[in-house]
C-alpha cells in the first residue's frame, strides 16, 4: 500500500493517472451503455478505481486536514493498555476486526431491493454515498471516540451536546434496534417459508452450536480453530442432507413451515438465546457466522472476477417514478433510504465508537480502518447489486413482489410481470425454482433469496455447474440466515440492556443486570418489541418488506444524520469550522432525505406511501362494512388500520428525533462560535494527566 501514501514520485503520479483513466472508462461503460448487456467486471473495475482515488485524495484529506489526526498523540490503546479491552493492535488485524463488525445483512439486502429501479441509480448512490457520507461518518466517529477513551456515541452526544440531546439520541437508538431486529428477522422468515431444505439447514445450526459450545467449554476450552472447523463440517453435512430432507415427504413435512410459525419460533429462539449463558449458544454461533460471512464474501468476490457475468437488469427501469412493486416510493427520497447500509449506515457509528477505538495503535491509522473499512462494505453492496442484476429481470420481480400484486401461480405472475415490460414465461419462473431445489420462488421478498439465486448462478458457474445450484442457493440462504440470527441474538441482549437502563431510571431495582427476574422480564420485553413488528410484517399481505423496509432504512439513515450532526458540532468546538463542510454536506443531505421520507410515510395522500392515508382508506371501508383486498375479514381490516397508526407514530418519532438533534446541534454550534477557545471535550493530550481506568 506504500504507493497510496507517497504520490510525489513521478512514477506514482503516473500510476494514479492510470487508475483515474481506467476508472473513468469503466464508469462510462457502466453508466452510458444502453441496450446491450454490460459485463459485471466493468462495474467492479469502476468501483475499485473510485475507492482507491477516494481513499487517497478525499479520505486522507479529511483525516489529515479536516480532523487533524496527530500521530504523536497517544491513543487509548496505548494509554490504557490492559491486554484485554485496550490493546494496541496491528492495523491490518484491526481492519479485519472492524470490517467483520460492520458487515452484515444490510449491504446485501438493500441493493437487491434497490435494483427494482435498475442497477444504475443504486450503484451511483452506493459509490457516492460511501465516499462522501458513509466512510466520512465511520472515520469521524472513530476519530471522536479515539479521542475520548473509546466512549460510545450516546456518551459523546451527551458530553458535547448536553444531557437532553443525549437522551433523545438514546431513545432513537433503542427504536432503531427494535426495527432493525424486526426487519432482519423478517428477511430470514421470508427466505424460509415453505422451504424445508433451507429451514432444516438453519435449524441444524442450533444443535451444532450447542455441541460446539459444550466442546469449547468442557472438552477443549479455547480451541476456536478446532470448534469452528468442526462446526463448518457439520454445517456442510446439514446443508447436503437438507436436499434429502426436502425430497422425503415424511421428513419435509416437519420443516415445511408457514411464516407465522417461523416468526414465533424465531421470537422464542431470540428469547432463549438472550437468557442462556453465552458460551452455550450465542458465542459458538457467532464464531460460525463470522467466519462463514467473511469466507463467503471472499468467495463471491472471486466468483464475480472469474465468471464475469453480464448484467441482465436494465440500467434504469420505469419504476424510478415510485410505482415499483418491491417497495413504494420514488427515487428521492426513498432510493437513498432503501440502500441503507452499503452507502451510509448509522449503525456503524455505534460500532466505530465501540471496541475498535480502544485498539487503534496510532491516530494516523484511523483513515485506513474507518474510511477504508466502509469502502469495503460499499464493495459488498456493489457485489449484492451485481448478484441481483445478473438474474432475469422477470424472475427478479417474481421473487420480490408480494402475492397481493402478482398472484400465487407462475402463470398469473408471468402475465402481470410481462405487462410491466419485463417479458417472462411461466416456465422460466418455474425453471429457476426447479434449479435451486424449491417448490416456488415467487414472492420471496426480503432480498436474501434473490441474492441467493444470483450467488448460486455465479458460484455454480465455476464450482459444480447446474447440478450444484441447489446446494449453492441453500448455502447462500444459510449464510445470510446464520448471521442475521446471530445479530438477532446479540441485538436482543443489547436491547434488553437498553430497556433495563431506561426503565431503571424509574424503577432502580430493574437496572441490576445479574438478576434472573430482570433478565427474564427484560428479555421478554425486548423480544415482544421487535417480535411485534416481525409478526406484523409476516402477516402483511403486501409482503411485509414493502411496508417495513422504508421504515428500517429511515431509522438507520436517521442515526447516521445524528452521528454526522455530532461530528459537525465537534468540528466547530475544535475550532476547525473551516473544514466542517466535510460533515455538514452529508449531514444535510441525510436530514433532508430522512425528514422528507419520514413525513411522506406519515402524511402522503397516496395510500401506497403514507401510513395515515392507508389507515383512512381501510378505516372508511371498515365503517361502510366493506372488505378491501388483501384483507379477508373485518378483523384483518381493523388490524391493518391499527398497524398503520403504529407505523405512522414510529415514523413521526424518527422525524422528531432528527429535528430535535439538529436543533441541539445548531445551538451547540452557536455556543462554540461565541467562544474563542476550543471547547471539545477531548481526553489524553500528550503530557496531560491521564485519568480513568487502568488494569
Amino acid at each position: 500500500m506504500s504507493f497510496i501514501n507517497n504520490s510525489s514520485a513521478p512514477q506514482t503520479r503516473l500510476l494514479w493517472i492510470a487508475v483515474a483513466l481506467l476508472g473513468a472508462v469503466a464508469f462510462a461503460i457502466v453508466a452510458l451503455n444502453r441496450g446491450e448487456a454490460v459485463n459485471a467486471a466493468w462495474l467492479v473495475i469502476a468501483a475499485i478505481c473510485i475507492y482507491l482515488i477516494a481513499y487517497r485524495f478525499y479520505g486522507l484529506f479529511v483525516a489529515n486536514r479536516a480532523l487533524g489526526v496527530d500521530g504523536g498523540r497517544p491513543t487509548p490503546a496505548v494509554r490504557h493498555n490492559d491486554g484485554l479491552d485496550y490493546v494496541p493492535t496491528n492495523r491490518y488485524v484491526l481492519y479485519g476486526h472492524h470490517f467483520a463488525a460492520i458487515a452484515g445483512a444490510g449491504p446485501l439486502v438493500g441493493p437487491v431491493l434497490a435494483a427494482q429501479m435498475g442497477y444504475l441509480p443504486g450503484t451511483l448512490w452506493i459509490l457516492a454515498g460511501a465516499v462522501f457520507a458513509g466512510a466520512v461518518q465511520d472515520m469521524t466517529v472513530l476519530f471522536l471516540s479515539t479521542r475520548r477513551d473509546g466512549r460510545s456515541l450516546g456518551d459523546i452526544v451527551r458530553g458535547e451536546m448536553g444531557p437532553v440531546a443525549g437522551t433523545i439520541t438514546g431513545i432513537g437508538i433503542l427504536l432503531i434496534c427494535v426495527i432493525v431486529l424486526a426487519v432482519l428477522a423478517l428477511v430470514v422468515v421470508k427466505a424460509l417459508i415453505g422451504s424445508p431444505w433451507g429451514t432444516f439447514a438453519v435449524f441444524c445450526t442450533i444443535p451444532i452450536a450447542l455441541l460446539m459450545g459444550v466442546y469449547n467449554q468442557f472438552i477443549r476450552p479455547g480451541r476456536i480453530g478446532e470448534i469452528s472447523l468442526l462446526g463448518c463440517v457439520l454445517l456442510l453435512a446439514a446443508l447436503i442432507y437438507g436436499k434429502t430432507v426436502s425430497e422425503t415427504p415424511a421428513l419435509a413435512a416437519y420443516f415445511d413451515l408457514k411464516g407465522e410459525t417461523l416468526a414465533l419460533i424465531i421470537i422464542g429462539y431470540g428469547f432463549v438465546a438472550s437468557v442462556l449463558p453465552v458460551w452455550l449458544l450465542l458465542a459458538p454461533r457467532d464464531y460460525l457466522s463470522t467466519f462463514l460471512k467473511i469466507g463467503t464474501i471472499m468467495l463471491l468476490a472471486i466468483g464475480i472476477i472469474i465468471v464475469r457475468p453480464d448484467l441482465q437488469m436494465p440500467a434504469v427501469t420505469k419504476f424510478i417514478d415510485g410505482s415499483g412493486p418491491v417497495w413504494s416510493g420514488s427515487v428521492f427520497p426513498f432510493l437513498f433510504i432503501t440502500i441503507a447500509c452499503g452507502a451510509v449506515s448509522g449503525w456503524h457509528s455505534l460500532i466505530a465508537s465501540g471496541t475498535t477505538p480502544k485498539m487503534i495503535e496510532n491516530e494516523k491509522q484511523i483513515a485506513f480502518i474507518g474510511y477504508g473499512g466502509m469502502l469495503m462494505e460499499s464493495f459488498v453492496a456493489i457485489m449484492a447489486m451485481i448478484g441481483a442484476s445478473i438474474i432475469h429481470p422477470g424472475v427478479y420481480f417474481a421473487m420480490n413482489s408480494g402475492a397481493g400484486l402478482i398472484g400465487t401461480t407462475a402463470e398469473q405472475a408471468a402475465q402481470v410481470i410481462s405487462s410491466w415490460g419485463f417479458v417472462v414465461t411461466p416456465d422460466e419462473i418455474a425453471q429457476v425454482a426447479k434449479d435451486v431445489g424449491e417448490n416456488s420462488i415467487m414472492s420471496r421478498t426480503g432480498g436474501a433469496p434473490t441474492l441467493a439465486v444470483g450467488m448460486a448462478h455465479i458460484l455454480s458457474s465455476f464450482l459444480g455447474g447446474r447440478t450444484l445450484m441447489g446446494i449453492w442457493y441453500h448455502f447462500a440462504i444459510l449464510f445470510e440466515a446464520l448471521f442475521i440470527l446471530t445479530t438477532v441474538d446479540a441485538g436482543t441482549r443489547v436491547l434488553r440492556f437498553m430497556i433495563q437502563d431506561l426503565v431503571g431510571n424509574a424503577v432502580p431495582a430493574f437496572k441490576e443486570t445479574t438478576s434472573w427476574t430482570n433478565n427474564l422480564i427484560g428479555s421478554a420485553l425486548s423480544c415482544a418489541l421487535w417480535g411485534y413488528f416481525l409478526y406484523v410484517g409476516v402477516i402483511d399481505p403486501l409482503g411485509g418488506i414493502w411496508t417495513l423496509w422504508p421504515l428500517f432504512g429511515t431509522a438507520n439513515q436517521m442515526l447516521a444524520a445524528i452521528a454526522l450532526t455530532v461530528c459537525t458540532v465537534v468540528l466547530f468546538k475544535m475550532k476547525r469550522e473551516r473544514f466542517a463542510w466535510v460533515t455538514i454536506v452529508p449531514a444535510t443531505w441525510l436530514v433532508v432525505c430522512t425528514v422528507t421520507a419520514g413525513l411522506e410515510k406519515v402524511f402522503s395522500p397516496d395510500p401506497n406511501v403514507g401510513f395515515i392515508s392507508h389507515a383512512l382508506k381501510y378505516g372508511d371501508a371498515l365503517a361502510a362494512g366493506q372488505l378491501l383486498a388483501p384483507a379477508k375479514a373485518l378483523g384483518e381490516m381493523r388490524r391493518i388500520v391499527f398497524n398503520d397508526y403504529i407505523d405512522a407514530s414510529l415514523a413521526a418519532v424518527f422525524v422528531l428525533v432528527v429535528v430535535a438533534t439538529v436543533v441541539y446541534g445548531l445551538l451547540s454550534i452557536r455556543k462554540a462560535l461565541g467562544n474563542p477557545q476550543p471547547t471539545a471535550m477531548e481526553i489524553g493530550l500528550a503530557g496531560a494527566a491521564v485519568g480513568g481506568r487502568h488494569a
Partner: protein
C-alpha cells in the same frame, strides 16, 4: 536459474507469516485479542500480580464480548 531451495524457503516463510497474521485477525474478529501480548503486558507492568492462563483469558474475553454493556454493538449493517 533461481535457487529452488531458496525460493521454497521464502514461500514457506511467507505462508507461515500469512498463517500467523490470518489467525490473529480471525481471532480478533470474534473478540479474542492476542494472548502473548496480554502476557507480555502483565509481565512488564504488573509483575507482582497473577496472569490468567489461556483458558481463563479466553473465557474472560468471551464473557466480555457479550457482556450487557455499552458500545458492544456488532454485525448488523
Amino acid at each position: 536459474m533461481p535457487d529452488l531451495q531458496e525460493l521454497f524457503d521464502q514461500s514457506a516463510s511467507a505462508m507461515r507469516a500469512a498463517g500467523y497474521w490470518g489467525t490473529r485477525t480471525a481471532r480478533l474478529m470474534i473478540g479474542v485479542p492476542d494472548y502473548e501480548a496480554y502476557v507480555a503486558h502483565r509481565r512488564a507492568n504488573h509483575p507482582d500480580q497473577p496472569i490468567m492462563t489461556y483458558v481463563e483469558f479466553f473465557r474472560e474475553r468471551q464473557q466480555a464480548r457479550y457482556a450487557i454493556g455499552k458500545g458492544r454493538f456488532r454485525g448488523c449493517c
